[in-house]
Subunit: 122 residues, 2 copies
DNA sequence: CTTGCGCTTAACCTCTGGGTTAATTAACTA
DNA sequence: TAGTTAATTAACCCAGAGGTTAAGCGCAAG
């Protein structure tokens, strides 16, 4: 088995699964509830498999209620991913800063007449 | 080609590629720089492929300097992922709130004698 | 107690992701 | 010009992801 982060990113790397998470963010749902939007595109066993992936990644929890398997979103697992991404926040924020700065030089150019040589890459 | 989010999540769903991003967050690096930590585990063409995936996902930018291909982190692309995750922040925060609340009931139990029935799932 | 519903398992197929080696291109260097 | 370094391309292999159909299991309602 792969590391937890890899497992979570792969689980999220599928639009069907992301859609399922989005539905679960609007409340608990059974397997057939979750399957409904996809039954034109895929079979029930396919849905079961997707849910297994999400469950294995810790992104959802499946419980039992008679013949139903109510699923709930497990948002803590998403926090884990978000926390990993945090380490890069400073980079995209500084990119925006550079954009800001660049835009300032551009708007001033008319007045000051092109003094910066213009880094690329925003 | 798949949607941008799917492409980014799949690109991130590989420890080698995440490690490369981490290296790039410490500064621009050539392909062979990036390859160095992995040459015991994989060949250069494998590295090239990983970089292609990252580039296609928009996570890095490859430029040219003589025979070298300096790569730079493209943090804006990570922001896109982070933005998508934001929609779930309220859920993991409320989970933590519930954990807080639960811990409060636990610590009070000695005094008030078990009054809540205890939702599962934190 | 059997019928039907909700869901999973089994067995299978196909395609792609991640890896390989070998050959190739491009640019510098002696 | 020949040789070396940096990186890519080509051709290939294999395991696993994502899908299928068909069969099976657990539960509840007639």
């Amino acid at each position: 088995m792969q590391d937890a982060l890899t497992q979570k990113f792969s689980a999220l790397a599928d639009p069907t699964r992301r859609a399922m998470l989005e539905q679960l963010s609007r409340g608990t749902a059974s397997v057939s509830d979750l399957a409904k939007p996809f039954l034109k595109e895929m079979s029930l066993p396919a849905v079961t498999k997707h849910l297994k992936v999400l469950e294995a990644a810790g992104l959802i929890t499946k419980s039992r209620d008679a013949q139903w398997r109510p699923c709930t979103l497990n948002a803590e697992a998403l926090k884990h991913v978000s926390d990993w991404m945090e380490q890069y926040r400073i980079f995209w924020e500084e990119s925006l800063d550079r954009l800001d700065a660049y835009l300032k030089t551009v708007t001033q150019k008319k007045a000051t007449k092109g003094k910066k040589n213009g880094r690329k890459q925003v």
